[in-house]
């Protein structure tokens, strides 16, 4: 059933809040005051509730079924964490309140930092980045600041494997680096020879995801780090896949200099339909002095939030955003860490990898794994070779999965694999759900091979909407509702 937009519900003169009247006469704002109507509809509370509850039911969600988006780590979001983040002592804290009134918040940041440093084996962490890509930016800015401090400011190149997340080259370009791709071997890893060849004195850093976006651990990671350091460059690790190794492997032991940690992936803060996330960056000893402000230090009289880089810390490269980071996400992630503990987090990695390998094993009977040899890590990658000749594409297959009640896997990524399908179940999926998923996919694969093309080309049939025309949307973008859309126009407010 179609749900109208709020602009089509006729509430140009309504409000769903009750506010006391305010005296407006004494203002000296004169013609700084807005005269024209804004054009905002208002709805009573019951209408608002119904509108958004109805809309919500058009979404798929982790809480409804498997959400196996590779590289996204869509795991269970515990509600305890939501409850904790809503304690007034966290949720109702002003970022610039006097520091003596926020000691518990600073203590939490300090404890979170301790966990992140311990889990990664790195000596420092910058908490302020607001998402993974923001963390990458922070990491590269640290690297640039370090190079500049060391007289290496001329280094202008960043090496990135072809299988990297789009954010990697985008971030490097953003920081003004030119991006050079590193080739990939047949078995889905960084081509060490190619890397060695490209590690020129102009290279500032390499950006490698490990486990990589093919779901594979970079076996030669220690050698990669050694070569990189030998060339005077830094090793940036994209931590999107940290879930596969948390509690078992420390990136610090692999030679990593900087790595962002997506708290909304590994540490389960909810993705919320597109955020907010949080992307703290752990840093090696070499980069630690080049972290951005602010940071927390423990002093004799409690914790201090250092907001301006002064004195010893003056090598800080600046500020990533107005305040101190995503506190709401810190609380959730810390609650998650405490809940799991050292033992639970290790089990997280093990179960995530076990679940992915189980899917890979079961689905290999009908689909073609991109790298059949050896185990995968926390995600299983397939190519579309098995669809050859069926007339069904990766996209078609994904849309048909919707009709089975599942969210599709990540498609067409990484780019190095043709028609890629990247499946990440996470550790919070029960075996029953994996079996249900495998059986659905095996049946679908059978249908594709049996020539039931319509079932795929027309899919989805059972979703709230049929397949949407993305080309039309891009050709003539309609990005806001306009009153001429439906012949409705906002009326000025009536006098009360």
């Amino acid at each position: 059933q179609d749900e109208p937009l709020i602009f089509e519900l006729g509430g140009w003169d309504k409000t769903g809040v009750d506010l006391p009247a305010a005296d407006q006469d004494a203002s000296d704002l004169g013609d700084l005051v807005r005269s024209a109507p804004i054009g905002l509809p208002g709805l009573s509370e019951p209408e608002t509730m119904r509108h958004y509850v109805r809309l919500s039911q058009k979404n798929h969600a982790i809480d409804l079924a498997l959400y196996p988006l590779g590289s996204c780590t869509m795991k269970h979001n515990p509600r305890l964490n939501e409850k904790m983040a809503r304690l007034a002592g966290f949720a109702d804290l002003h970022p610039l309140a006097p520091q003596s009134t926020v000691q518990g918040a600073l203590a939490l940041m300090d404890r979170l930092a301790h966990w992140l440093k311990t889990l990664t084996g790195m000596p420092a962490v910058a908490l302020s980045p607001k998402a993974g890509a923001h963390g990458e930016l922070c990491g590269l800015l640290s690297i640039r600041a370090a190079h500049e401090a060391n007289g290496q400011g001329h280094r202008r190149t960043v090496l990135v494997p072809t299988s990297a997340h789009g954010t990697n080259p985008a971030t490097a370009a953003f920081v003004g680096y030119s991006v050079v791709e590193i080739a990939q071997t047949e078995d889905g890893r960084v081509d060490i020879a190619d890397l060695a060849a490209k590690l020129s004195p102009d290279v500032a850093a390499i950006m490698v995801t490990n486990p990589n976006t093919c779901g594979l651990f970079e076996r030669e990671v220690i050698e990669i780090g050694r070569l990189t350091h030998e060339a005077g460059a830094y090793f940036y690790c994209d931590g999107a896949n940290f879930n596969a190794i948390v509690g078992r492997v420390r990136p610090g032991d692999l030679g990593v200099d900087a790595m962002h940690i997506n708290l909304h992936k590994t540490f389960s803060t909810p993705h919320g339909g597109g955020g907010p996330g949080a992307g703290p960056v752990v840093l090696s000893a070499a980069l630690a002095p080049f972290a951005p402000a602010p940071w927390v230090v423990a002093g004799e009289d409690g914790f201090e939030l250092v907001e301006e880089a002064e004195g010893e810390a003056a090598q800080a490269f600046g500020r990533m955003s107005a305040f101190h980071g995503q506190m709401g996400m810190f609380v959730r992630a810390y609650a998650y860490m405490l809940s799991h503990g050292a033992d639970g987090l290790r089990q997280v990695a093990e179960d995530a990898v076990l679940n992915a390998n189980y899917l890979k094993a079961r689905l290999s009977s009908v689909m073609s794994p991109a790298f059949p040899e050896g185990p995968c890590m926390h995600e299983a990658l397939f190519d579309d070779g098995w669809l050859d000749g069926t007339g069904v594409t990766t996209l078609d297959f994904a849309k048909a999965m919707i009709d089975e009640g599942f969210h599709p896997m990540t498609m067409y990524f990484p780019l190095v694999v043709h028609g890629a399908m990247l499946i990440e179940p996470t550790e919070t999926e029960p075996k029953q759900e994996l079996d249900r998923f495998c059986e659905a996919l095996i049946a679908l694969a059978g249908a594709a091979k049996a020539g039931e093309v319509d079932r795929f080309k027309g899919a989805p049939y059972l979703a709230p909407m049929r397949r949407l025309d993305e080309t039309l949307a891009a050709r003539k973008p309609r990005l806001t509702w306009r009153s001429d859309d439906k012949g409705v126009s906002p009326a000025p407010l009536a006098a009360e």
Binding site: L40, H60, R248, G274
Partner: protein, 447 residues
């Protein structure tokens, strides 16, 4: 462990299906040297009750804004958010869904984003808006870089009225991209100085209204000067509620408007997550950063929504993207949209009027305190006062009276030499009792 559904029997059966003897067989690719056999030196798992106790104890060490007289603003404001907002954003279908890459099963999120974009465009008086940024400060930095792409010029002039943390963020990020950032000195009425800095190399000027000292400015003249020089005007707003009372950036000639949206629908959260608003003229849309939601139709011809113009974005465009943003502030944008749907035009105007009235009441009360000088001529819900001695010390000393007096400007910009300037804000949560307590405490200290 309560979040891990696999039983030992499941694990054994699955390993058998895989053909692995032990879980370690699945980690064979990890170099021996990096395999940690022992548990890390961290506590073991804890039950829900224990976790709740530890976090509640930490929370209890903080003083929430709502605990008493509280006057901090400077980019984050203590507003009341209706219970409906928090209820809806906690629904599983919104909370535990991903970025809407599969529009057929994400219309809930997508339609909300379309509503959000329309609301932001309406508030800012511009034609198009994106589906949210991390916060106001990073939106400001992105706007400056967008101006570079649009104008192919490198110089950005930041007004001295811009929030110092916004200026610092912009400097950090945009400078990295090779821009030349001209940051003007902090001053109460800094906007006048902007005009002089505009020249033929200028990509953009960045002006904040109400500015960090609370001054409300008509930026029409700055817009004209910028446009005359071929530059863009970026207008920054840190208090979104002010849109309910003041002329919109678009009305005054802004090309890009960015704002911190926290005040609507979102809590203070010690500074994050917040939600950045970003709007611009329609002709600039293809240089916009961030995600965009657009209207289209499905195979049956029914109206629906999709993420669109993604050829600007990093996952398609990689190093040529308009921004590196991937995750944004979707859930905060949802909260913003629900709260604003509840308010509507009538409610937002009323809310803005109350905020303004409370600030005037506060201003009158503080102006009557001996030794206090009100510095801000025309304000919305925040203004600057000059106190005797250092503002930071005033704030500390008033804590003894349970009054959180505001933000010392020196905390935002220690080098500005404005140590006696205190920024104070009032909102609909401010009561007359709070105001009296503040004035009395301040008078007591001054006396």
């Amino acid at each position: 462990m309560r979040y891990l559904p696999l039983t030992p029997a499941d694990r054994a059966e699955m390993l058998a299906t895989i053909g692995a003897a032990t879980i370690d067989d699945l980690f064979v690719d990890v170099p021996q040297a990096a395999r940690r056999r022992d548990l890390f030196d961290l506590p073991l798992h804890a039950g829900e009750l224990e976790v709740e106790r530890e976090l509640s104890a930490l929370a209890a060490m903080n003083r929430p804004a709502g605990a008493g007289p509280f006057f901090c603003g400077a980019g984050a404001y203590s507003h009341h958010v209706p219970a409906t907002v928090d209820h809806v954003i906690q629904r599983s279908e919104f909370l535990t869904s991903y970025t809407p890459y599969q529009p057929e099963i994400a219309q809930g999120t997508l339609q909300v984003l379309f509503e959000f974009q329309t609301q932001v465009a309406a508030l800012t008086g511009l034609e198009v808006a994106n589906a949210s940024m991390y916060d106001g400060s990073t939106a400001c930095a992105e706007a400056v870089m967008m101006a570079q792409r649009v104008t192919r010029r490198k110089k950005a002039v930041l007004s001295g009225g811009l929030h110092p943390h916004y200026a610092a963020t912009t400097q950090t990020i945009a400078h990295a991209e090779g821009m030349d950032i001209v940051r003007q000195a902090a001053a109460i009425d800094a906007e006048a100085a902007v005009l002089d800095a505009i020249d033929g190399d200028t990509a953009c000027v960045v002006v904040q209204t109400p500015n960090v000292f609370g001054v409300v400015t008509d930026v029409t003249k700055i817009a004209e000067a910028a446009h005359a020089a071929g530059a863009l005007l970026i207008v920054v707003t840190t208090e979104a509620v002010s849109y309910g009372l003041l002329k919109s950036p678009g009305e005054m000639g802004a090309d890009i408007a960015v704002a911190e949206g926290q005040s609507i629908g979102n809590g203070l959260n010690f500074g994050g997550p917040f939600v950045g608003l970003f709007a611009c003229r329609e002709k600039l849309v293809r240089q916009m950063p961030g995600r965009l939601c657009g209207e289209t139709v499905d195979a049956d011809g029914r109206r629906g929504f999709v993420l669109t113009l993604s050829t600007r974005e990093q996952h398609i465009r990689r190093e040529k993207a308009t921004s590196n943003i991937c995750t944004n502030s979707g859930l905060c944008a949802l909260a913003f949209t629900i709260h604003l749907s509840l308010l509507g035009e009538r409610g937002l105007r009323e809310l803005a009027a109350i905020n303004h009235a409370k600030a005037r009441e506060l201003c009158d009360a503080l102006a009557a305190v001996a030794g206090v000088e009100v510095l801000t001529p025309r304000f919305f819900n925040e203004f600057a006062i000059r106190v005797k001695g250092k503002a930071a010390q005033v704030v500390e000393s008033l804590l003894a009276d349970s009054v959180v007096a505001g933000v010392p400007f020196s905390r935002l910009d220690p080098a500005a030499g404005l140590d006696d300037v205190l920024l104070v804000a009032a909102t609909e949560t401010t009561t007359s009792e709070h105001i009296k307590a503040f004035a009395q405490a301040l008078a007591g200290r001054t006396a």
